[in-house]
């Protein structure tokens, strides 16, 4: 168009205007805007999946706010998907918006997602393949100048750099760094190395991003870059991405088609890496041949909201840029980016109550600029400003700096997508699951009993648990009626219309219910505040069958447990964990990791419990007793699981109880409880227990403490145990009768205090028992081998017989039972034991 010549002198070369960019580079974005303004093309071609052409107008809608991502997924397999994230400062986004504003058509020209997703299928299993879709630059925001950031992408451990497709939450599972990581060429690194930089990203920033556009030729940066890339590609060819050749062939065909339609006024925005390939003249036939016979899969596209955190490398499946917040700032700041940035940092630090004055900002700016000069950079970059913030505003400490990084450098920006965007694949996946599990969404509330031993019911349970994790409260667990078995679950189901909205929101977590729930659980675990939250999450993961999320949750759990200094929290966490272990058993999940963590937790409790029990007031002591009880039960269950490296947990727990029982600074209720637990486990003999009781109740002890000891020893429970456990009663009885007459009046108030809390019926039974005296032959001494300690060794024949008529009735044996009577009586008696 004539306008081009008018504004900027000359347009580079003939043919379409090729704008090579770095994905997610704010400098590139600004340069693209300037170049488009100067050239005023009649059509803008953008590297991206052409299926999304229909979605481009949505970008102009009110409700659309970047960062967003284009999501492509296979229709019949929502788990197979790829993302092309776009931030406000992405050149592609800028190009789209420019085209929409100037009423010029914009088109995506990359290889269609239908092929890239099919490639993904082909190489399922090999992580490398998954990378295919990313081919597009979008994903590779990584800095690679070329769309293919791939090179830099690969260096990173799987997950992150993964452009688009892969790391996407919905992607199938974690991928590992491709095996051939080292082989591929990183074009950027090669250029940076030639320029004497050790960090390619920094070189790119210095040379391209930080160069102000505006004055001078808007095309110049692109020309220079193209030359550099051409030189690189001469040496490195496709850089190891053979599929790039196919993509580039497709792009060439598209550009050619556009040129036929619109003449020379065509602008192409693509990764800088691709520019030389698009410039090259090739035979149409050759390009067509390359594209022949590509695999296909039916795909669907939509916009999904994205976040800065997810763009960042740290996010796990981001676009691989470290500092989206900084880039957004660079792109948005009209001038003096460093001053504005440091003012922003100062504002944040002030909000967090750090003293930061304007003088600090001035000094920080000076330091950043001098540092940049000393490092030979044209403008202070993120590293200079960060160094300056650390030295001037943070007293050299990295702690406030972490806050700056989290809030500003990465940032909390959340994108939005208009309601008219097509449905997310998660909804599709859920619908499929509902069909398969024959679980209709109904508005009416109903109860659902699940027997987890059956395949379908187990699947339903997992689905409901996963949805709960995702915040889709379709089912609420209800108390099971009748049965307390761990293989039974009761749910109350009700599908509210707004749940559909929830499902749509949950779409950011992944494309299938499983993947989304896994991602959500992991994120929740990392963000959880209290230890108990993480344990609960671990439990939920087991219930929901999220085996992939467990390692993360377990790691967080172990970390939290290690750092939590409050033994109460640890003690609360342990029972839930042990419970999870048992669920795991029922559902056949691998719980080795869980057992390991539980054992570690138990060990920490063992170490920390005795000091934590010292010097407590009555309420705290009561709480501590509950903890001791809970840990005792948990260790009992845990001790059954053999664990390498953790020795005999029970024996060590008994050691801890021994310490607790013998230390005077520990409140009576805990001491009494410890003695009792040891006695029950047969770790302490009667005589020793009696001696300890005498000690605790002797005149030297404060009355309240002595009463607490008794309370801890005989246990709450309203004294029923005392009625039934003769051994226990005998202990108290022996001690009481041994109290000298003159001391008795002192002890009396204590006993009254404990026993008056019992029910009248219990007190009467106790009185009767004491009056009757020790049972002949039964006695505490006899309670050794048979039966639980403290109970009679033998059956009370008379009372056992009384049960028989009812049993016969139940079993339908008839009242006269014939000759079998004796035998069955014996059996039943045996069973009753």
């Amino acid at each position: 168009m004539a306008g081009a010549e008018g504004t900027a002198g000359h347009r580079p070369g003939a043919g379409p205007l090729l704008l090579g960019v770095r994905h997610h580079g704010p400098g590139s974005a600004r340069a693209v805007r300037a170049a488009l303004d100067a050239a005023r093309p009649r059509v803008v071609l953008i590297e991206g999946p052409p299926e999304a052409d229909a979605l481009i107008p949505l970008a102009a809608e009110e409700g659309m706010r970047p960062p967003v991502a284009l999501l492509a997924h296979a229709v019949d397999e929502p788990g197979r998907s790829a993302f092309w994230p776009l931030a406000g400062f992405s050149p592609e986004w800028v190009a789209i918006r420019w085209a929409l504003r100037h009423d010029v058509p914009a088109r995506f020209i990359d290889l269609p997602a239908t092929h890239t997703l099919a490639w993904q299928r082909e190489d399922t299993g090999t992580p490398e393949g998954k990378r295919a879709p990313q081919t597009d630059g979008a994903p590779d925001g990584e800095g690679a100048p070329g769309g293919d950031g791939a090179p830099s992408g690969e260096v990173r451990p799987g997950g992150d750099g993964a452009p688009g497709g892969d790391g996407a939450p919905g992607g199938e599972g974690a991928e590992d760094a491709p095996a051939d990581a080292g082989v591929r060429v990183d074009p950027l690194a090669a250029l940076a190395g030639a320029a004497g930089y050790d960090d390619p990203e920094r070189w790119w920033e210095d040379v391209v991003e930080h160069r102000g556009v505006g004055e001078g030729d808007p095309y110049a940066p692109f020309l220079v870059l193209e030359e550099a890339m051409a030189a690189l590609r001469e040496v490195h060819g496709s850089g190891g991405h053979d599929r790039d050749l196919v993509r580039e062939a497709y792009m060439r065909l598209q550009v050619r088609a556009a040129t036929r339609e619109f003449g020379e006024d065509v602008a192409v925005v693509c990764g800088a890496w691709h520019v030389p390939a698009l410039r090259r003249k090739t035979a149409v036939g050759a390009d067509r041949a390359l594209l022949k016979g590509l695999p296909k899969v039916k795909t669907d596209m939509t916009w999904v909201p994205w976040t800065h955190r997810r763009l960042a490398r740290a996010g796990g499946y981001g676009a691989g840029i470290d500092s989206p917040g900084w880039y957004a700032h660079l792109f948005a700041a009209p001038d003096r980016p460093v001053e504005r940035w440091l003012t922003k940092v100062a504002g944040l630090l002030r909000e967090e109550d750090r003293i930061v004055s304007s003088a600090h900002v001035i000094e920080a700016v000076r330091l950043a600029e001098t540092l940049a000069a000393m490092r030979g950079r044209p403008l202070p970059g993120l590293s200079e400003t960060t160094d300056a913030v650390r030295a001037v505003m943070c007293d050299g400490s990295d702690v406030p700096l972490a806050l700056v990084r989290d809030r500003l450098v990465v940032g909390d920006v959340l994108g939005e997508v208009p309601e008219s965007a097509p449905a997310v694949p998660l909804q599709r996946d859920l619908a499929g699951l509902q069909r398969r599990l024959r679980l209709r969404p109904e508005a009416a509330e109903r109860e659902l009993e699940l027997d987890l031993r059956g395949g379908t019911d187990a699947g339903r349970s997992r689905l409901l648990h996963r949805l709960r994790l995702l915040g889709v409260g379709w089912g609420e667990p209800a108390a099971s009626r009748g049965s307390t078995g761990t293989f039974r679950e009761t749910w109350r189901l009700r599908w509210e219309p707004e749940l559909s909205v929830r499902v749509a929101e949950a779409g950011v977590w992944g494309t299938t219910v499983l993947a989304a729930a896994t991602a959500k659980a992991e994120a929740d675990a990392v963000g959880a505040g209290a230890l108990a939250e993480v344990t609960r999450l671990a439990e939920q993961c087991l219930l929901a069958g999220l085996a992939d999320a467990l390692p993360v949750v377990m790691r967080v759990l172990a970390d939290r447990a290690a750092l939590d200094a409050d033994v109460g929290h640890l003690a609360q966490a342990l029972p839930a964990l042990v419970r999870s272990l048992r669920y795991g058993d029922v559902r056949g999940t691998d719980t080795a990791a869980l057992a390991e963590v539980a054992a570690g937790l138990a060990e920490r409790i063992f170490v920390a419990l005795p000091p934590a029990c010292a010097v407590l007031d009555a309420d705290a002591a009561e709480e501590m007793r509950r903890h001791v009880n809970a840990v005792h039960t948990a260790v009992g269950l845990l001790g059954d699981t053999p664990m390498a490296g953790h020795g005999d947990l029970r024996a060590r727990w008994h050691g801890v109880l021994g310490v607790l029982s013998g230390r005077d600074t520990i409140p009576g209720v805990v001491r009494g409880r410890a003695v009792r637990l040891l006695l029950d486990d047969g770790e302490v003999e009667q005589e020793k227990a009696a001696r300890l009781m005498g000690l605790a109740l002797s005149p030297g002890t404060a009355p309240a403490d002595a009463a607490a000891w008794i309370e801890g020893f005989v246990g709450g429970g309203g004294g029923m145990l005392l009625v039934h456990d003769e051994r226990l009663l005998a202990l108290v009885d022996d001690w009481l009768t041994g109290v000298p007459a003159q001391a008795f009046t002192d002890v009396l108030p204590l006993l009254r205090r404990t026993f008056s809390a019992y029910e009248p019926g219990v007190r009467r039974s106790l009185g009767e028992l004491v009056r009757r005296g020790p049972r002949p032959g039964g006695g505490p001494a006899g309670a050794t081998a048979a039966g639980p300690p403290g109970f009679g060794a033998d059956l009370d024949r008379e009372r056992a017989d009384a049960v028989l008529p009812v049993l016969r009735l139940l079993l339908g044996l008839g009242p006269d039972g014939a000759g079998a009577q004796d035998a069955s009586g014996g059996e039943l008696a045996g069973a009753a034991r």
Partner: protein
């Protein structure tokens, strides 16, 4: 990282009563040069004179006023490198490049530099070499103690002169800071946080107004371009005499980290232990490296709050657990092994020392230590002897 040497600098020629503002550049050097080969430990600018001269000869970058080298060359002097003519500059500080760059840049922007770090992180070492490279003189030093008076930072009086001739410039005894101001040099203040708060405050005017009033004479000393100040402080001692925010604002702070890799730290510890052992005439003990590695591992893990394999988090005790402490634990262990043991450094010899270094707070630290023993040490392959020894001393 370089071996952290905390020198107790001998200042041969500080107490002269020459007028501060007649700054003859070479006078400080004369005394040091005389000390020459006799000195137990030569100053940085003397020990590395050849390197400094080579750098100065080839340094064509712009130099701030009165700097002997350009900032870039100062950074090279500290971090090491090879000059175009092949001269090899030995690294003085082995650590993150960023830290040295920020430190040098700070001095170039005429802001004062505060080096923070736990004991044994080469703060003094870095400050000495910075001063030597920037000003060619590292001897303008104020040693901060709880008893440091204002005179040490401002000026004192020669009372004989004062009584005989009344107040005059001749009766004034300038402090190192005053001389640095007059001559445009780099002054150093060691252990800034140990100096009483009211004495610290004298620095505020010096650093912001760059002037030192002498009300007795109705005069002042104005800092000449090139003046700057490097202070070191121990960030574990923050509570001692914490800097007021007014003073703190005048400093750019650089925190010197502990050694990054275990190998570097093992290296530092064994080198220092060797030196100390020789000076204490301890009998040579063979093959202590494994035990040293173990001590360093324990210290690092507890300090960082995570095991070396990065898989288990730990609580950290209240003590510093610096490299310097690891050195003293090993030295103590060596003495035990040499005098009371079989001459080989064993787990039992270091166990008590480690316990003493870790358990500073009898209640909280003991739990931390026991947790560490039970959850980490007990399971580790080849650490059985160490576990047993620690159990013995902890019981």
């Amino acid at each position: 990282m370089s071996v952290p040497v905390e020198p107790t600098p001998v200042e041969p020629s500080q107490h002269r009563s020459a007028p501060a503002n007649t700054g003859a550049g070479e006078k400080g050097r004369a005394g040091a040069a005389q000390a020459g080969p006799e000195a137990l430990r030569p100053h940085a600018e003397d020990a590395f004179a050849a390197e400094l001269a080579a750098l100065a000869a080839q340094d064509d970058r712009p130099r701030p006023a009165r700097w002997k080298l350009s900032p870039w060359a100062v950074a090279t002097y500290l971090l090491g490198g090879t000059l175009p003519d092949g001269t090899v500059i030995t690294p003085k500080y082995v650590g993150p490049r960023r830290i040295v760059e920020v430190a040098v840049t700070t001095l170039a922007t005429d802001r004062a530099l505060l080096l923070l770090g736990v004991p044994g992180t080469a703060k003094t070492w870095v400050s000495e070499h910075l001063a030597a490279a920037v000003s060619g003189d590292s001897t303008l030093l104020v040693q901060g103690t709880a008893g440091t008076p204002e005179e040490a930072i401002r000026y004192g009086w020669n009372y004989a002169q004062l009584l005989a001739h009344g107040p005059s410039r001749d009766a004034l005894v300038p402090s190192p800071v005053m001389r640095a101001m007059a001559e445009g040099m780099t002054a150093r203040v060691e252990e800034l946080t140990r100096i009483p708060a009211d004495v610290q405050d004298t620095l505020i005017t010096i650093l912001s107004e760059k002037t030192l009033p002498i009300p007795e004479l109705g005069a002042e000393v104005q800092a000449v371009r090139g003046f700057n100040l490097i202070a070191t402080a121990n960030d574990r001692d923050r509570g001692v005499n914490d800097l007021s925010s007014a003073l703190r604002r005048r400093f750019n702070t650089v925190v010197l980290p502990l050694p990054e890799s275990p190998e570097a730290e093992v290296d530092i510890v064994s080198r220092r232990v060797d030196q100390i052992g020789r000076s204490l005439d301890l009998p040579a003990v063979p093959d202590g490296v494994d035990e040293i590695r173990r001590v360093v591992t324990v210290f690092r893990e507890l300090r960082d709050g995570v095991t070396t394999d990065r898989r288990t988090k730990l609580k950290s005790p209240s003590g510093t657990l610096s490299t310097a402490e690891a050195i003293s634990v090993v030295t103590g262990g060596l003495a035990l092994a040499a005098h009371f043991g079989d001459g080989v450094l064993r787990a039992g010899d270091v166990a008590a020392g480690i316990l003493g270094a870790v358990v500073r707070d009898p209640a909280a630290d003991r739990v931390v230590w026991q947790e560490y023993l039970e959850t980490v040490v007990r399971e580790r392959d080849g650490w059985k002897d160490f576990y047993r020894a620690c159990r013995e001393v902890s019981a």
